[in-house]
């Protein structure tokens, strides 16, 4: 089996990371948590947008909904955090199903879908910022994490689960359906693939994972406000990271998220105010010269090396 090695390596890596808190400094633990968060976000974004070709510019909506579901459940309804996490999964999932039933079912064109999502995130932000019952623009302060490394393990778990899910989908019959949709939606429909069902399922799956990430992050920070939860850069970052690694692949978003979250971290300690600008420039450069990201660059390099090697042999 050709694909066996990467799976074994990934499992070993996850196992190694699981022991991280024992031998890493607190700084590195928190840095890794950020990395896991972005791996989860970029991977989830890729589940829908990368695998179906419908770019969503407002997936941060589900992050915010997850974060707020948790915060409202624990700080206003006084529910235990576990229930808060469960709500942080269910609320974004249900809302995604609702949005999907309207937009995906209507076969709205790609560009319109992207902008409607962007708008939903923005409108939700302005509504949340004005509703006093959920803290308006001051935000909420849910109780913090009780045990020290819980956030680390949960975020690692989500990141691993998203990646495993993407791998499972890619190697299933369902994944073939998705690739057919990506290549030619009309043709896919003609050969009997339930295109709406495929897209809807991936949309909800991506929202569920992002929602859970959002819930865990708000628990971990024990603070959430509308401008942070529904920040435009959340939607943007997951797109940039998935794209930097490579759209529609399993490894791409992981690689992209690891590299870019480290870049983000480095920038935010030296020039925080330039970070979104640099990411903006980066996405433009990428799409102009290397739309397939690291994975494409890697394959291009392999392509250049091969004929040279053959020439040397002859």
């Amino acid at each position: 089996m050709k694909s066996g090695l990467p799976v074994v390596v990934s499992l070993l890596l996850v196992a190694l990371l699981a022991t991280g808190p024992r031998w890493l400094s607190p700084y590195h633990v928190s840095l890794l948590m950020t990395v896991f968060m972005y791996v989860a976000l970029a991977g989830s974004w890729n589940l829908f947008s990368g695998m179906t070709g419908y770019v969503s510019l407002g997936h941060g909506l589900f992050f915010g909904l997850g974060a707020y579901s948790f915060a409202v459940a624990t700080s206003i309804l006084k529910l235990p955090p576990v229930l808060g996490l469960a709500l942080g999964v269910m609320v974004p999932g249900l809302i995604a199903a609702l949005i999907g039933l309207v937009l995906i079912n209507a076969r709205i064109r790609v560009a319109y879908f992207a902008v409607v999502m962007l708008g939903l995130n923005e409108i939700t932000k302005t509504i949340v910022a004005n509703v006093k019952a959920i803290g308006s623009s001051y935000g909420l302060t849910p109780p913090g994490v009780s045990s020290k490394y819980l956030g680390y393990y949960v975020l690692l778990g989500i990141a691993a689960a998203v990646t495993a899910f993407a791998y499972g989908v890619q190697h299933s019959r369902f994944g073939f359906g998705l690739r057919a949709i990506l290549a030619d939606e009309v043709a896919a429909e003609t050969i009997g693939i339930h295109t709406v069902g495929h897209k809807l399922a991936m949309f909800v799956a991506s929202a569920v994972f992002i929602g859970m990430t959002g819930a865990m992050v708000s628990w971990n920070w024990s603070y959430v406000d509308p401008y942070m939860a529904f920040d435009l850069t959340v939607s943007f970052d997951m797109l940039v990271m998935a794209m930097f690694g490579g759209f529609g692949t399993v490894a791409g978003p992981v690689l992209g998220a690891v590299v870019m979250s480290l870049v983000k971290e480095a920038l935010s300690s030296s020039w925080p105010q330039f970070q979104p600008i640099i990411f903006g420039v980066m996405v433009i450069v990428l799409i102009l010269w290397c739309p397939g990201g690291i994975i494409q660059a890697f394959e291009m390099m392999r392509g250049w090396l091969r004929p040279r090697a053959r020439g040397a042999a002859a």
Binding site: V55, Y112, E122, I277, G280
Partner: protein, 295 residues
């Protein structure tokens, strides 16, 4: 609700609606000739608004005079973006869907760059200028003079756009390209040039609308996106390429928002248009322009 309040709200709504319609006309023009949904459209408006603000604050230049300056500046910026980003993308993209997706992502990047550059240059402070803010009275109804100025300029500019599109050869060419690029090319229209003109003109309108908006609204670096979303709503509801429909939809959205903010509170004002959009999508699914192309 008394009759006076009713008329007052209606008037407020019409003022905003006229401005929204103008912005949407620019967005629609760009979408027509370039097949680009410019989500950074509102950022050009924001820059136009800042330009008017600074010219007024530093040198007391009337926003009405700043308006053409903002229009020219944004036209130039639009053309630079077009030359630097859109042309190479168009040359590289193999499918129309690929191009549409790529431009969306590029403009998301442009949006963030412009927002954050504005934030660096001018901070997140709320800026506003007071220009002709003394009220004009018509019987019981009073309205700030600047709102009347905004309404009349927006109506005049929209009417000029209408004449340009419907009565001139250039307008005819723009409409032809919007309807069918390939056939337009066969008819001897320089599609690329029309694309440049359309993009420049659309950007110029955004700049002018920004200068207008600066007289009646607070300016922040993040003000643009809400305008883009509203313009998008109007474009979809009014009908792609349908100038008259867009103008009416713009007025309708303005009036709706005005009454909504009175009845259910100003904080939900921005959401009302979105309810309209989603309702429209549900209603017109599979039959309207919005859904003409699956992918």
């Amino acid at each position: 609700m008394s009759a006076t309040t009713f008329v007052q709200l209606l008037l407020f709504g019409v003022v905003w609606g006229g401005l929204y319609a103008l912005i949407a006309l620019g967005l629609n023009l760009i979408f027509g000739v370039m097949r680009i949904l410019n989500i950074a459209h509102g950022e050009l408006l924001m820059l136009g608004a800042y330009l008017a603000f600074w010219l007024f604050t530093l040198w007391k230049v009337s926003p009405l005079l700043s308006m053409p300056v903002a229009a020219v500046a944004m036209c130039v910026l639009g053309l630079i973006i077009q030359k630097l980003l859109i042309d190479p993308l168009a040359a590289r993209s193999r499918t129309p869907a690929g191009f549409e997706n790529a431009t969306l992502i590029v403009f998301f990047g442009v949006l963030l760059i412009l927002q954050n550059v504005a934030l660096l240059l001018w901070t997140a402070d709320y800026r506003s200028l007071s220009y002709l803010s003394e009220p004009v009275r018509f019987g019981d109804i009073s309205v700030a003079a600047n709102r009347l100025v905004v309404l009349s300029v927006a109506v005049v500019l929209s009417a000029l756009m209408f004449v340009l599109m419907q009565r001139t050869m250039l307008g005819k060419a723009i409409r032809a390209v919007s309807q069918d690029r390939d056939t337009a090319k066969l008819m001897g229209i320089d599609v690329k040039r029309i694309g440049m003109i359309g993009f420049g003109l659309g950007s110029a309108i955004a700049g002018a609308a920004g200068a207008l908006a600066s007289t009646i609204y607070v300016i922040t670096p993040t003000v643009g996106l809400l305008f883009t979303i509203k313009a998008f709503t109007i474009m979809v509801v009014g009908g792609l390429g349908n100038q008259f429909g867009i103008f009416i939809a713009g007025l309708a959205l303005g009036i709706m928002e005005s009454f909504a903010s009175f009845v259910i509170g100003a904080e939900f004002k921005d959401a009302t248009g979105y309810v309209l959009l989603i309702g429209f999508i549900l209603w017109r699914a599979r039959s309207s322009q919005a859904f003409a192309e699956v992918k």
